[in-house]
């Protein structure tokens, strides 16, 4: 696998779309390309952020935040 193919696979990898047989080959290439591979994979995670930002925000109920903060405070006290 050359680096261009690795880049294509990386974008599939970050969204969990590699098939099991592709994953093994991908991990081998990931080791082969080392730091360069890790840096590229990190960049690919920007896709996650972009897909989330492409959606219109949905407001959560205020009770959710109250429950969350109560749980956090309770956890801090223990």
């Amino acid at each position: 696998m050359n680096f261009s193919e690795f880049q294509n696979r990386s974008r599939l990898y970050v969204i969990g779309a590699l098939e099991p047989e592709e994953l093994e080959e991908f991990e081998k290439a990931r080791k082969k390309f080392g730091k360069k591979a890790e840096e590229f994979i990190t960049k690919c995670y920007a896709l996650h952020e972009a897909f989330a930002l492409s959606l219109r925000p949905a407001k959560a109920s205020t009770a959710i935040k109250e429950r969350l903060m109560a749980m956090v405070r309770a956890k801090k006290e223990t």
Partner: protein, 181 residues
């Protein structure tokens, strides 16, 4: 994020205020159930609080980390509850009113998008609908290439090509957008 890592509850409160809408939209897009989305959102922020020590700014932005976490939890939740069938039914029922489905025609009633969202949507909209659909099913439904092929009655190789081409276009488009954002 640094505040949360030091156990500052106010920092979590601020993070929640800033990002709950984005994460809720993502969860809702996956599970299509308002009450379940709210419950999951609460669990995810609790996980953010518990796992904050594992966040590394060198590996990306806080939002990216939270989105990755939220998506994984939402897809896991969907699978655990074996809710695919129910979600499918709801999705079909909601298609006509669903403002955030990628594959749709823009209407005059569509709510004005924020600049960032509009720019990202602009990139996504340049993709042919089959590429948008393949990415949508992979990212928001957690489907494998084989599952997408079966669902869309498309050869596996075609699904792979659609995903690769579509993701590359979005990735390249995002690089250009960074200057505008």
């Amino acid at each position: 994020m640094k505040g949360i890592q030091t156990g500052d509850a106010d920092a979590l409160s601020q993070l929640y205020d800033r990002y709950n809408g984005i994460l809720k939209a993502l969860i809702l897009r996956v599970i299509h159930n308002e009450a379940e989305a709210d419950d999951l959102l609460q669990e995810i922020f609790m996980e953010i609080w518990n796992q904050a020590k594992n966040f590394s700014a060198q590996k990306g932005k806080p939002l990216g980390w939270m989105v990755t976490l939220a998506r994984r939890r939402a897809i896991d939740g969907l699978r655990k509850k074996q809710a695919y069938a129910r979600a499918e039914e709801r999705l079909q029922n909601e298609t006509e009113q669903q403002p955030d489905a990628w594959v749709h025609n823009a209407t005059e009633e569509e709510i004005v998008l924020s600049d960032t969202r509009a720019l990202i949507r602009k990139v996504i909209s340049t993709l042919p609908p089959p590429q948008q659909q393949a990415i949508d099913l992979a990212f928001f439904r957690g489907m494998s290439q084989r599952e997408i092929a079966a669902k869309t009655n498309t050869p596996l190789g075609t699904v792979k090509t659609r995903l690769e081409l579509g993701l590359k276009k979005i990735y390249d488009g995002l690089k250009e957008l960074r200057d505008e954002l």
